[in-house]
C-alpha cells in the first residue's frame, strides 16, 4: 500500500445509487470514489440533480447506497442507521424543532446520546457562545430570524462533536450580505472546532472561496477533484470550465505538438500554444478555452490573436466585460479590472483585437 500523506476521514469507494427500478430507474450516483481528509473543508459542487445531495444523504445515512462502501476512519458505515453514525447534518431548511426552544434544540443530540444533564448544560452554553447566540437561548425557533436559525442549526449539529459535519446548501436561503458573513463564520467554526466539513452547494463562487478542496459533479459522476485554484485554472473538462466561472470556447485547428503543448491555429489565422490537460492523439478541430480575465482587449487589431467587433460593454463595478463578436460569429468575452485611471477608450460597434496571455489557452476534453 502506498503511504498517504494525510489521513482520510471519509473514504467513498465505488458508490452507486439507483432510485426506482426497471424502466423508471434513475442513476443518481454512478461509481463515485472519493477521499475526504481530516479537518478538511470539502465541497461537493454541481448543478441541481448532479447527485451531490444524494451523496451527502448517503454519508448521513438517510438512504443507503445501491453499491459500494462508505468508510469513516476505516469502518464501513454504509449499513448503519443515521443515529448510529458520528456524523451530523445542517439541513438546507435548517429543520429546527418548532416545539423546542433554541437551547433545547442544541441540547437534543446530547440528550439522545445520554450525556449527563450538567455536561449538556455546559455544552449548550459553549455552543451558544460559539455561534454568538447566548441571549436567545429561551426563544422559540419561530421567533428568530433566518440568519439566527442558521446559527442554531449549526450549533445543534456541532454540539455532539461529530467526526464529520455535513452541510446541505445551508446558505442558500440567506440574502447576499448575510451569506457573505456566514461564509466567513463557517470557515471560523471549522477552524475552531477542527471538524471535517462536507459542504454541498451549487454556487461556484461559494465553493471556490470556502473550500480546501472541492469535487465538481455532474450527472451522478465526479468530474474533477482539486483545490479551488486547480479547479479554476486547470479544469479537466469542458463541463468544469463552463460551470466554474466564465469561459470562452474557441474552435481551433491543431497544427503541431511539442512538450505538453499543442500549436493551434485560431479562427482568425493566428497561431498560439495551448496547454493539454491529458495525453491523447490530437488532430483536426479541438475546443480551446480561455478565461475572460486572461485576455486583453486592444484597439489596434494588427498583430492581435483574435479580431472582432465590440458588441457590448457591461459594467460590473469592479470589472468591465467586453463582448466581442469574432469574425467566425462566436462571442468572446474579455474581463478587465477597472481602475481609477481607466477611461472608456472603447465604444460599442468598433473593431477591436484580443491578445491572449501566455499559457492561458487550454485544450479540454469535451
Amino acid at each position: 500500500m502506498p503511504e498517504r500523506p494525510e489521513k482520510s476521514t471519509i473514504e467513498i469507494r465505488h458508490v452507486s445509487k439507483v432510485f426506482g427500478s426497471g424502466e423508471n430507474a434513475v442513476i443518481a450516483l454512478d461509481d463515485v470514489s472519493l477521499d475526504i481528509r481530516e479537518n478538511e473543508f470539502f465541497t461537493l459542487l454541481g448543478p441541481s440533480g448532479c447527485g451531490k445531495t444524494t451523496l451527502l444523504r448517503l454519508i448521513a445515512g438517510f438512504s443507503y447506497p445501491t453499491e459500494g462502501e462508505i468508510k469513516l476512519y476505516g469502518q464501513d458505515i454504509a449499513p448503519l442507521p443515521p443515529y448510529k453514525r458520528p456524523v451530523n447534518t445542517v439541513f438546507q431548511s435548517y429543520a429546527l424543532f418548532p416545539h423546542m426552544s433554541v437551547g433545547e434544540n442544541i441540547a437534543f443530540g446530547l440528550e439522545m446520546l445520554g450525556r449527563p444533564k450538567s455536561a449538556i448544560r455546559t455544552r449548550v452554553e459553549e455552543m451558544l457562545a460559539l455561534v454568538r447566540m447566548e441571549h436567545l437561548r429561551d426563544r422559540k425557533t419561530a421567533q428568530i430570524s433566518g440568519g439566527q436559525q442558521q446559527r442554531v442549526a449549526l450549533a445543534r449539529a456541532l454540539a455532539p462533536q461529530p467526526k464529520v459535519l455535513l452541510l446541505d446548501e445551508p446558505l442558500s436561503a440567506l440574502d447576499y450580505k448575510l451569506r457573505k458573513d456566514m461564509q466567513i463564520e463557517l470557515k471560523r467554526l471549522q477552524h475552531e472546532t477542527g471538524i471535517t466539513f462536507i459542504f454541498v452547494t451549487h454556487d461556484q463562487e461559494e465553493a471556490l472561496t470556502m473550500s480546501d478542496r472541492l469535487a465538481v459533479m455532474s450527472s451522478g459522476r465526479i468530474l474533477q477533484i482539486g483545490n479551488p485554484r486547480q479547479i479554476y485554472d486547470r479544469p479537466a473538462e469542458r463541463f468544469v470550465a463552463d460551470f466554474i466561472g466564465e469561459t470562452n470556447f474557441l474552435t481551433a485547428e491543431v497544427t503541431g505538438l511539442a512538450n505538453g503543448k499543442a500549436e493551434v491555429a485560431l479562427p482568425g489565422g493566428a497561431k498560439i500554444h495551448a496547454l493539454l490537460t491529458e495525453d491523447r492523439e490530437l488532430n483536426g478541430a479541438v475546443s480551446v478555452v480561455v478565461r475572460p480575465e486572461h485576455a486583453e482587449i486592444v484597439s489596434n487589431a494588427n498583430g492581435a490573436d483574435l479580431k472582432g467587433r465590440l458588441a457590448n460593454i457591461v459594467y460590473f463595478g469592479t470589472d468591465t466585460l467586453y463582448h466581442v463578436v469574432l469574425e467566425t460569429g462566436e462571442t468572446f468575452i474579455v474581463r478587465r479590472q477597472n481602475s481609477r485611471k481607466s477611461v472608456d477608450e472603447f465604444s460599442e460597434g468598433t473593431a477591436v483585437g484580443i491578445i491572449l496571455a501566455d499559457g492561458s489557452a487550454q485544450i479540454l476534453r469535451d
Binding site: A60, G61, P81, P82, T89, F91, H99, F108, M112
Partner: protein, 307 residues
C-alpha cells in the same frame, strides 16, 4: 378641529354596525336552535311530570334530586341510586375507552396516510370516510351481524375449533365499545391527519441525525407536533360517545344502558320528562367540563405555537 378623530369615530361606529349585521344570521340561528331549546329543557327540568308524559306547570326539584337519588314508591324516602351512577360511570368509562382505542388505532393510521405521496393520500382519506356516508343504524346492525353468536366471528372461532361454544359478545360493554370505536374512528383520524400533514418530515430526519432512534423520534418529535390533532380528535370522539344513543341501544340490547338511552327512557316509557331534562342538562355539564379542560389545555400551549 377634531375632524380626524370624528371621522375615525364615525368609521369605528360603522365598523361595529357592520360587524353586528354580518354576524346577525349566525346569532339568530344560535338563538333559535341552541339557546331557545336549551332554555325549554332547563325549565322543564324544574317541573312536575304529567301522568301521560309531558309536564305539569308546577315547580319541583325532584327531577334534579332524581339524577343521583331515587324515591321509595311506598314510604317516599330518598335513597342513593346505584343504577343511575353505574349508567353515568359506564358512559364516561366507555367514552374514555373509545377515545383511547380510536387514538391507539388512529395514530398509526393517520401517520401512514400523512407519509404517503400527496396523490394517494386523498384516496386513503376517502376510504376512511366512506363508512361515514352510510346510515349509522345500518352500520351498527352490520356490527351486530358480525359479532352475534351466529355471526361471522363466532362461526370462524367455532369452525376452526379455537372455541367449542360461541363467545357472547353482543349485548356486552365490549360490543358497545367496538361499535363506538368503529363509528367515531374517522373523527379521530381526520384531525390527527390534519396536524400530521403539517409536520415537516425533515424534522424526523433531523431527529435521526441527532442520535434519536425510532421510538425517541416518535416520542420527542412526532407526538409533540401532532398534539393539537390528538387533543381535537379526543374531544371529537369523547363528546359524542358520551351521548351516544343508537350504538348502545343496538349493541347493548337495552341491557347495558348509556346516558343517551337513559334519557330516552325518561321521555318514553318512563314518562318522566323533567328527569329526562335534568339528565340532559347533567350530560351537557359533563361535556362542558370536558371542553373547558380542553380549552385550558390548549390555551396553555397556545402562547407558544403562535410565535
Amino acid at each position: 378641529m377634531g375632524t380626524a378623530s370624528e371621522i375615525a369615530r364615525r368609521i369605528e361606529a360603522k365598523d361595529i354596525r357592520d360587524r353586528w349585521l354580518l354576524s346577525a344570521p349566525a346569532l339568530i340561528i344560535i338563538a333559535l336552535c341552541a339557546i331557545g331549546p336549551l332554555t325549554i329543557v332547563f325549565v322543564y327540568s324544574f317541573l312536575t311530570p304529567g301522568d301521560y308524559g309531558d309536564v305539569v306547570w308546577k315547580f319541583s326539584p325532584d327531577a334534579w334530586i332524581s339524577v343521583l337519588f331515587q324515591r321509595d314508591i311506598f314510604d317516599g324516602t330518598w335513597s342513593f341510586a346505584d343504577a343511575h351512577l353505574s349508567i353515568f360511570w359506564r358512559s364516561v368509562w366507555l367514552s374514555l375507552m373509545t377515545t383511547l382505542l380510536t387514538l391507539v388505532l388512529g395514530f398509526p393510521t393517520a401517520y401512514f396516510i400523512a407519509t404517503r405521496p400527496e396523490r394517494t393520500r386523498e384516496i386513503w382519506l376517502f376510504l376512511i370516510t366512506i363508512p361515514f356516508w352510510t346510515n349509522l343504524l345500518i352500520r351498527t346492525f352490520a356490527i351486530q351481524e358480525v359479532i352475534r353468536n351466529e355471526g361471522i366471528v363466532n362461526a370462524l372461532l367455532t369452525g376452526t375449533g379455537i372455541t367449542d361454544r360461541p363467545i357472547q359478545m353482543l349485548y356486552t360493554d365490549f360490543a358497545i365499545l367496538l361499535g363506538l370505536a368503529y363509528v367515531y374512528f374517522p373523527l379521530m383520524v381526520l384531525p390527527l391527519y390534519a396536524s400530521m400533514e403539517k409536520i415537516d418530515f425533515r424534522l424526523v430526519e433531523a431527529g435521526y441525525d441527532l442520535y434519536a432512534n425510532r421510538w425517541k423520534v416518535l416520542r420527542r418529535i412526532i407526538i409533540p407536533l401532532a398534539k393539537p390533532g390528538i387533543v381535537a380528535g379526543s374531544i371529537l370522539v369523547f363528546i359524542p360517545s358520551l351521548g351516544a344513543y343508537v350504538t348502545p341501544r343496538v349493541l347493548g340490547g337495552g341491557v347495558k344502558l348509556m346516558l343517551g338511552n337513559f334519557i330516552e327512557l325518561q321521555f318514553g316509557q318512563g314518562r318522566n320528562w323533567p328527569l329526562g331534562a335534568s339528565l340532559s342538562m347533567t350530560l351537557l355539564a359533563i361535556v362542558l367540563a370536558a371542553l373547558f379542560m380542553y380549552i385550558h389545555f390548549t390555551a396553555r400551549r397556545g402562547g407558544n405555537t403562535h410565535g
